[in-house]
Amino acid sequence: MANYDFDAIVIGSGISGGWAAKELTEKGMKVLMLDRGRMVEHRKDYITEGKGPWQLAYRGNLPPAEVDRDYIMAKWGGAGLSAQTHYYNNDRLNPIDFENSKPFRWVRPAQVGGKSLIWGRVALRWSAIDFEANKRDGHGSPWPISYDEIAPWYSYVEKYAGIAGSKEGLPQLPDGEFQPPHPLNVAELWVKERLEKAMPGRKLISTRTANMTEDKPEQGRSRCQDRNMCARGCSFGAYFSTQAVTLPAARKTGRLTLLSDQVVTNLEYDPRTKRVTGVRVVDANTHEAKVWRSRIVFLCASAMASTQILLNSRLPGGERSFADSSGVLGHYVMDHVFRTGFGGTVSDPALEPYIAYGRRPNGVYIPRFRNLNGQDADADFVRGYGMQGAAGRGPAGAGGFGKAMKEAMRGYGPWTIRFTVFAECLPYKDNTITLNPAKLDRYGVPLAVFNVTFRDNEMKMMRDAALQGEAMMKAAGLTGVNSSNEEHVPGDAIHEMGGACMGEDPRGSVVNRWSQLHDAANVFVTDGSQMASTSCVNPSMTFMALTARAADHAVKLVKAGAI
């Protein structure tokens, strides 16, 4: 019998890793959680929380020269905001192989808690339509799991995380276990009423979000205070993060060991037993290497980082990853497409007397309406998109200078509403992440090379979304309706998925229906890398549900002596 340091090692402490640590420790396992980033403790280390702009470096915006030097990819996730720069990877010190990559924006965090501290908190379920999509239109690896199998796990994680939303009865956006939704403002209600009347089937709802509207005293968390400073960390614990939610639960068991600043370079594999026998780390500060041993491993380092670790886990004496008997490890890399937007102005004088008090942490959502029942006759693309937006009023723009300008700026500009499209990206086998063994990072890991492009289907979808968006705004009676379309660069939506996709067939997929490696039964890959398609909705709730489900299954297998 092998000598284990821990029952389980969880690699990564973000949305997926945090859930893995919580579930595994609560089920009695002794767990080591590793993260490459530095430690951030709940409350104590939220160093910019609650500060006014005059208390932030450069009043909130880093000098462009510094951003371009250190945050060339991370800036697309908000690293240029000085209130949150410390939560982002330094892309100069921890680069990808820029020279050999096609444009890709890999926005990485730099701390324990990962992107759970800085995520957009949109909390949506996938639908049956999403899980059936690959099989139906023949793209990518067919999902081996159904919505009905996952639904109880969505309920499980939603109840604990605290999700605010309205029940709408939409098959393409299943309802969940919701706290009351955050309210719409007067302009959003105005648009909702007119849009839903003018275009039956289109819906405008409060965006379901992991910002609570009710307290959870048993978790020491209180409801959202409408500060909208979430990405600095929240001492109220009002939104779901590892720090506020899963880490305290795991620590409470007394069975968690958490080590920060530990860069996992690779997994050690024994071809004889077909098991992973060790997790090799390099200390980020001392550069000392060490191998930890455990019965099972949960790989939750983020879609691209987990894939990179697997690619760098070679068979003894070989160049090939032990996890790549399928030949698709590192393939089918995807991200949502989202640089298309549209909006307009609500010119109704009846709304003029009103403004918003408080800074709501969410906005409004228009769920997918395209290709819901098979293929729409007028759609030249498969699958669909959703739209996320908000209405608001900014300070009035005033010309000139002096007293008159100062006084004019005490008023507000018009109510405007603006949406961003989030479209599904198809799984393409030749959209890849690979390693360049000729270029190593400072921890000795080969740099990642990205070869990911959006294609015809994605571009057609975005064109359609802009047209549909404008038509909806006009139908709702807005003025100054417009749309915009910027360059779509993969990674940009920070919804990167794939690389170790799920499937029934070990010849065409990397993990099975339990997120378990086909090539090593004691390894579970439960973050975005396992995704076989992207849906058009935000993926984090699905990562949580699949992680909790995989942990439950893994513990059952361990108890049965199967792994």
Binding site: K44, G52, P64, A65, E188, S235, Y354, F401, G402, R410
Partner: protein
């Protein structure tokens, strides 16, 4: 018009207990940032004494003292010096310094004295010409400077708390709040 910070802190502590005291107290106490840290003051002198006075005079005409303090009281000139010294790329820095020279030169040629020595109405006269691109070589300086003053003022403590209404912990969202109840802009 500032919502009372002590009340907010008391409310938050009642909600969550003493654990919350430290980070919120830190935030709500509005402590002064460390002056030496990058991004809070110019890391080195970039203006001459004359340029510094000129920037202060222009700033105060763009956002003057009225029933609330103006740009100088809000520290806008120091903010501008920091931005020009540490935030700007060289080309923008040079443009800004050139623009200052053009405004000062115009005052000396047309009013026979430096800008800072002029009466406020005369200063406004020059700034109006600059705004209308009617000063040779002005090259967009006025728009540039005006933007910096607005940014610096409305992100200052005075701008956020005295000119605008600062609510660090709103505690709720009301999407149909009558503007008449506040009569000002809520600072972000």
């Amino acid at each position: 018009m500032i919502f009372d910070r002590r009340d907010l802190l008391a409310g938050a502590m009642a909600l969550l207990g003493t654990e919350l005291a430290m980070p919120l107290a830190r935030a709500l106490a509005a402590e002064a940032p460390p002056a030496a840290a990058p991004g809070f003051a110019a890391s080195h002198t970039i203006f001459t004494a004359d340029q510094r006075s000129l920037v202060a005079a222009i700033s105060e005409r763009i956002i003057p003292t009225t029933d609330t303090p103006g740009a100088i009281a809000a520290g806008v000139p120091q903010f501008i010096e920091m931005m020009v010294a540490d935030w700007y790329e060289t080309i923008d820095r040079n443009d800004f310094l050139n623009g200052l020279g053009v405004v000062e030169g115009y005052a000396r040629v047309h009013f026979a004295t430096g800008f800072t020595q002029l009466a406020p109405e005369e200063q406004d006269q020059i700034l109006t010409l600059a705004m209308r691109n009617q000063i040779e070589g002005e090259g967009g300086f006025f728009g540039h400077c005006r933007q910096l003053v607005i940014l610096g003022y409305y992100s200052s403590e005075i701008g956020c708390k005295q000119e605008r209404v600062y609510v660090p912990v709103p505690g709720r969202y009301d999407g149909k709040y009558p503007y008449a109840q506040v009569g000002r802009v809520f600072s972000a």
